[in-house]
């Protein structure tokens, strides 16, 4: 079934995900921001891609060889008005792995990330065709409950966006709204803060305002807030771009730990970060998925010269 734009676009789950307002400066709207390559190779259908180096299949939709793919994307196209922002994307996301999306500004990686919990539904001129399955359910089917989807697919944004309330209440907010009993909430708060590697730093000041935390702590609080509603998948949209190296390292370590229980997808402009923390990487360019595979292969021996051009910093 092809996707249609949801009428019930903005909801509580958006607030819970921390998307308080739509960021009109989003890179992906810069359709003119395309980069020219020398000797550009025509992109071949990614669904048949297998990594020649390893002999192991890349996690694409059609191979069916990668076990435990939690997300399956098939023939996804997305338009912002007349701007064809995502072009025939097919990919499989393995469970309990970190998957990095890389590419230059405007390539569609953040747009693609947002399709996974239907955040693009909020954009009036956005049109989507194709299918995204999470645990074999098409999330763009009419019967999909978007609130439930966004509970299953949490999101952490570039800028930490704690709610104007205490540290405790920030984390307790989601479970409360979802009707979790009062008795269980302290346990969930503690568990979530521990999961976000923040508990030790805040356990004695839970009633303090969230704004009293440092930038890195605020970002981990947002991660704790996401964990509190027990998602299956967490989307990270450049989570460290506003953080110093120490806070960045903490978030990276945290992501590496979180993958044991969650499937992680991260958009990053930091090549080293993608190389350090992800198991798989996908390279996007001008709305196309150019290449995907195990991170080690993408960074050691990319098959497409556009990928090599990007990761080595050489554009034509």
């Amino acid at each position: 079934m092809n996707a249609t734009k949801s009428e019930n676009a903005f909801s509580f789950a958006d607030t819970l995900n921390g998307e308080n307002e739509f960021d009109s400066d989003e890179d992906d709207f810069e359709s003119e921001n395309e980069i020219e390559f020398e000797n550009e190779i025509e992109f071949e259908n990614e669904t048949e891609f297998e990594n020649e180096n390893s002999g192991e299949p890349a996690p694409s939709f059609s191979t069916g060889k990668v076990k435990k793919k939690i997300i399956e994307v098939k023939d996804l196209d997305l338009w912002y008005g007349n701007n064809h922002a995502l072009k025939n994307i097919s990919i499989g996301i393995p469970k309990n792995k970190v998957f990095a999306f890389i590419g230059p500004s405007g390539c569609g990686k953040s747009t693609f990330l947002r399709t996974m919990n239907r955040m693009n539904d909020m954009i009036s001129n956005c049109r989507i065709e194709g299918e995204i399955y999470i645990d074999n359910e098409n999330i763009y089917a009419k019967e999909t409950d978007v609130n439930d989807l966004r509970k299953r697919v949490g999101m952490v944004f570039q800028k930490a966006n704690p709610f104007p309330m205490s540290i405790y209440d920030n984390v307790a907010y989601g479970p409360r709204i979802h009707g979790v009993s009062k008795k269980k909430i302290p346990g969930i708060v503690e568990e979530s803060l521990k999961g976000a590697a923040l508990w030790k730093e805040v356990k004695d000041r839970l009633k303090d305002s969230a704004f009293s935390l440092s930038g890195g702590q605020q970002q981990r609080l947002c991660i704790a807030r996401t964990l509190a509603v027990k998602p299956e998948i967490i989307l990270f949209d450049e989570p460290c771009s506003a953080l110093d190296p120490i806070s960045t390292r903490k978030i990276e370590e945290l992501i590496t730990k979180l993958k044991k229980e969650y499937t992680i997808i991260i958009v990053t402009h930091n090549m080293q970060q993608a190389a350090r923390i992800s198991d798989y990487t996908a390279f996007f360019l001008s709305g196309e998925l150019v290449e995907t595979g195990k991170t080690v292969h993408i960074f050691e021996n990319p098959q497409d010269e556009r990928t090599e051009g990007y990761i080595t910093g050489r554009f034509g």
Binding site: M271, A275, E300, N301, P302, T312, G313, R314
Partner: protein, 215 residues
Amino acid sequence: MMRKSYNKELKEMRDEVIQMGDLVLKIFNHSSDTFFDKEPVSAEKLEKMVKKLETIEKGIEKMAASIITLQQPVAKDTREIICAVRIAMSWLKIGSHIADIYEYSDTCPEKIKNNPRERDVLKTIKAITHEMLIDAADAYKSRDTDKASIVAKKDDEVDLIFEEIRRDIIKENDTTSFSLCSLMIVGHIERIGDHIANICEDIIYLERYEIVRLN
């Protein structure tokens, strides 16, 4: 702008490796000319050339460390650096073996003159190695992996000659049939052949991302 300087640094490193190959060829030619009494070269001159080889090799190591630290290379660039360091090390070892052969030029030639078989064997193995050195240096310059494979195969010929000599000596139990001096020289050349084969393996890894064992 940053990538321009990065590209320049990588090119400089490649050029240094090429320079090492050219220098090794010169050392080889001087050493064999001296040995076969064509145009003797002084020990000081040869030593100076080997020292220069060492200096360039150290420079390549430093450049590699600097590029890795400051530019964080990936993909083929990483292999470019790894192979530059490895190939430079191989060139240095080859230079060192040639310098060792040179040291025999004072004592060996007279004996070899009296033994046509030794002379023929040494000339043959020298010619093969000389060709291998030229072709290996050329394969690195032109990034020619086919040529690299062919060059590495020639190491089998060198190994065969070395094995034949060794077998004869063991079989005959006769060290006079082939002088110890010549055996030592062939031994050094055999090692040179191995290092050339290593260079060829590195060229293939660099260009094709394949770890092959040609030796």
